[in-house]
Amino acid sequence: MVRVEHGLVVVVAEPETPAALPPVLLVHGFGSSVKLTWEQTGWFTALLSAGRRVIAVDLPGHGRSPAPEDVAAYAPSRIRSALLRIATDAGARPIANGDPVSGLDVVGYSLGSRLAWELGSAHPETVRRIVLGGPSHDDPLAQLDLAAAQRFLADGTPVEDASTAALVTMMQTSPGSPAQTLLHLVAAVKQEPYDAATAVPSQPVLLVSGEKDDLVDSLPLLEKLVPTVEVLTLPGRTHVNAVSARAFKQAAVEFLARD
């Protein structure tokens, strides 16, 4: 069913044959949505077939979630606390010894991996296992030249900084959200930039990236930080098309089925 909670659109899907495992929270990336990242790519099907209860959330200004004008609504810290409350409302409970359905598994992609990383680090009492797809070691969004991006969107003034220009082009073609809304998220991220080393999750982590993902060099850097970690690289895949790879879904389903 689809509902709006804490200002975000939440999709909860139940398996026909539930496994004795915790629910799985899915967190999509910048400029995407539940539908684009998880539904049409076969993630719901793969997780439900494995007996997993699925909780997926459209981030603020993404998919069908409202797009507030207030930049504070896009703060990563606020999104993380909303995600945890949404998962709790949907039945996720703190990890309890001897209760195999307690806890919460989290799968993130791209910016969603940043949120999953920090969520796991902040909530070891609830988050059990973490899968990070297309993760970044640093923060490409925080480095964006916001003023230049705003000028470009307002009157077409060319953007000098190459990575800002690339991100603005990506925002303009984003099927998930309007570019102006994405800039609210960028502004909020700049106030709370990602620093992987200061919030390392203690849970088992699976790192997955396309071999041709521009961020693939982040994998060994993240790998060094996490105590319990596995790494999967997908041959021939990019940041855009790694998410639907069968090998990714199979590895995640297997990783999240372990004790």
Binding site: V2, V12, T17, K35, T45, A46
Partner: protein, 109 residues
């Protein structure tokens, strides 16, 4: 036995073609309706398309990396004669056997 051909369906958003990323079934496989069949990439995103038909996969069109236009042949199934109906028509909807169900309707936007 009869053959049923299915084209690459309309993917919405004015998309006219898709690149094959990976076939999840092979020629000769017996597949269920709605079983994940092929992974494709468009200029917007990637999608996993379910099988539109139960039967034996007779032929698949497009190796990974190749482009298929919407409406061009994607897959041919071999099915029992009485399932096929008149060649070129869409077979009647049977009761599909589904292992999972989505409680959400994600297609309504």
């Amino acid at each position: 036995m009869a053959e049923l051909s299915f084209p690459l369906p309309d993917l919405g958003e004015g998309l006219i073609e898709a690149t094959i990323l990976d076939w999840l079934v092979a020629e000769g496989d017996q597949v269920e309706r709605n079983q994940p069949m092929v992974e494709v990439e468009t200029t917007k995103s990637t999608l996993e398309l379910p099988s539109p038909q139960a039967g034996v996969v007779k032929k698949t069109y497009g190796a990974p990396g190749e482009v298929i236009k919407v409406g061009d042949p994607l897959v041919v199934f071999e099915v029992a004669d009485d399932t096929a109906g008149i060649v070129g028509t869409v077979p009647a909807e049977g009761a599909p056997k589904r292992r999972v169900r989505l409680s959400a309707n994600l297609d309504d936007d």
